[in-house]
Symmetry: C2
Subunit: 398 residues, 2 copies
């Protein structure tokens, strides 16, 4: 495949500013789309974004728009850089305008990002052949530092990425590595999805500090963690690892992840590892309860982890406890609005069927009579077939 001539960046937050500016500085043609025009007024006025930090310069943008159609038209890569709770909206917005051969990357997907995005596209009757991938994390550590200006504090050296189905990952890697050589292939989207440390750290720590966050007390988010509170995080992490294991994914624990990711981290317990991590020093807790630590990490983290656990017969009483507490605290039904097996279109599937689905795009039929394949099998599998970037399902569409 030729070098992409154009990239659409969807979003206007810290990550989208950094990615649009940096990719433009790398020489790519970059368009930026955001739903709310007022959030991109400065970018439009200045015609691009000023990047500072580990990258410096002015990244000129070809187009800054609140209209999705021109943003997507004839680009080769669509970089979705929004909170995961906005993935559903982005999929709905993109569905009518995606074009054959385009690659969509969620930066990052959180838990179940591609599964949800693809499910929405299928619901919307997408006809184009596209490939959808999710990154395990956002490649940048960055912060908007002024109007149309972003500070990039760091660029991660390695970001795992997976496509649905996994058989498409090599083809996607060929494209996205032109943008970021840091992308590395993951086994499948279950691996990128369940490698969600934020879901372990964020909502629970907010719950353990609700009163003082709401009272406006300023304190260190990680530095303020205590041995007993961190013990709970460790137990929640064990539930995540058990769910991953049920799906055949061996995953680093949060503690192991800290040890392998950050320099100088040491300790026998998660508490000790967090407190020895200099990268966490001074990071303040949210100053409001209206934070992504709840409204992103519960519906697109703890909810799908618990729901996948249920599907696999792995109990997750603590993930469920924190979700239930958050539902009551914030008067929201995260079990309905979040990513459950039902909402992801996986309802009623077995672990084996889901693995087959994420690895190959096909679902196994639970009935032996269908397992011989053939036309009946083909039709029955439509509802769980991965359709994007493939032609098989055309004619079965809703």
């Amino acid at each position: 495949m030729d070098k992409p001539v154009a990239i659409a960046v969807l979003g206007a937050g810290n990550g989208a500013h950094a990615m649009a500016g940096h990719l433009a500085l790398k020489g790519f043609t970059v368009r930026l789309y955001n739903k709310f025009a007022d959030e991109i007024a400065q970018l439009r006025e200045q015609g691009g974004v000023t990047v500072e930090g580990v990258v410096e310069g002015f990244g000129r943008l070809e187009l800054v728009t609140a209209h999705i159609a021109p943003a997507l038209d004839e680009v080769q890569v669509v970089m979705v850089v929004v909170p995961a709770f906005a993935h559903r909206f982005m999929a709905e917005a993109c569905a009518p305008h995606l074009q054959d051969g385009q690659v969509v990357v969620l930066n990052p997907g959180r838990t179940g990002g591609v599964l949800e995005f693809a499910n929405v596209l299928r619901e919307k009757g997408l006809a184009a052949q596209v490939k959808i991938a999710e990154a395990q994390t956002l490649i940048y550590a960055c912060r908007i530092s002024g109007p149309a200006r972003v500070m990039i504090q760091g660029i991660k050296k390695r970001v795992p990425l997976a496509t649905l189905p996994a058989t498409d990952t090599p083809a996607v890697m060929e494209v996205v590595r032109l943008l970021y050589p840091e992308f590395t292939p993951a086994a499948n989207v279950l691996e990128t999805s369940l490698d969600n440390i934020g879901a372990v750290f964020h909502p629970t720590t907010v719950v353990l500090n609700v009163n003082r966050i709401e009272a406006g007390e300023v304190f260190d988010f990680y530095g303020g963690m205590t041995p007993t509170g961190t013990h709970l995080l460790e137990a929640i992490d064990q539930e995540r690892l058990a769910v991953a294991q049920a799906f055949g994914v061996e995953m680093e624990s949060a503690r192991e992840w800290l040890l392998s990711t950050y320099e100088g981290v040491h300790g026998e317990t998660l508490y000790e590892c967090i407190q020895s991590n200099l990268a966490y020093a001074g990071i303040k807790a949210p100053t409001s309860l209206n934070a992504r630590y709840i409204f992103e990490d519960v519906p697109t983290g703890l909810v799908p982890i618990a729901s996948l656990g249920s599907l696999a017969g792995v109990p997750t009483p603590l993930c469920r406890a924190i979700v239930n507490v958050c539902c009551a605290l914030f008067d929201r039904d995260f079990w309905t609005e979040g990513r459950t097996a039902e909402n992801l279109g996986l309802s009623g599937m077995s672990v084996e069927e889901i693995l087959e689905f994420v690895n190959t795009g096909d679902g196994l039929s639970p009935e032996p009579s269908f397992q011989a394949g053939g036309r009946a099998h083909e039709q029955r599998q439509t509802h769980i077939r991965c359709s994007w970037g493939r032609t098989r399902w055309q004619g079965h569409g809703r």
Copy 2:
């Protein structure tokens, strides 16, 4: 019944100091038992307790002992004044030494106090005919103010009390009103047990403040509650009310209880009522996580509320969530050590059978063949018969 000549006070905390001293000052013969001799060394040395506050004087004690037998011998009333998690121990200690006609009162029972106490006595094969009651709350607001000295800040005007079975409540009232005219009869022990506001307020508020309590931050327990956090307390309170309703008990909500109990309280929400309660002003949060707010109110509050809810088919996801979180935080299995239907000897009973049991001392048989009564019925019911203060079960004992 004549005026009781002797009372045993079991315990050596704030409440036991106040009760022993005050009852002695009222002219009763009072003995005090406590398991740990070092906690009563000063009481023994001084021969009594100095009371200050709304009552003043020196209450001389007939006996201060770490031996249960002489404490109970020939007293008429046994006042158990210990944290509810110690009721099991007290029942085990008392069982061999209780005597016919004695009245035992748990001050207070928390949720399921009498049910547990009676169940332990039955397990231990108690032969004596005793009556066991629970108060809904401790009659005193008090604090140990020095060696063998206690400050009584207030005496509640009305303390509901119930006996198991409820048909024994009038006879018990005759006795205990000689000690405290403030005792008023409650419908049954489900009413006194489910009227547990501490179970609603305490563990959850500790959970919402785990990090700063463990860090040693000083803050107001009630004053530090915030609108969102209190919203969760309100939702937990709704679960408690739903469980009570399933057992035919109409109960004040926590908000209504604040409005009816304290002067000057006002507000549309629980948050507003708590913040307008001058009696809560300045009450500090525990300075350690090793607090009764967890270790009493979880196993003898949230656990039995959730377990009774299960038995009645009332979901209590938030009570369960807080219990599960506390199990993980403190590495304890509160579901095993706490008061569940199983631990209370109620396993497998229906709501109707439990109501029959607490009201009359009999359990209904689920099988129609037993409902005609007779010998088979008598024998089958042994395991759920209220035996104390009655003779029926003798001969069927374990």
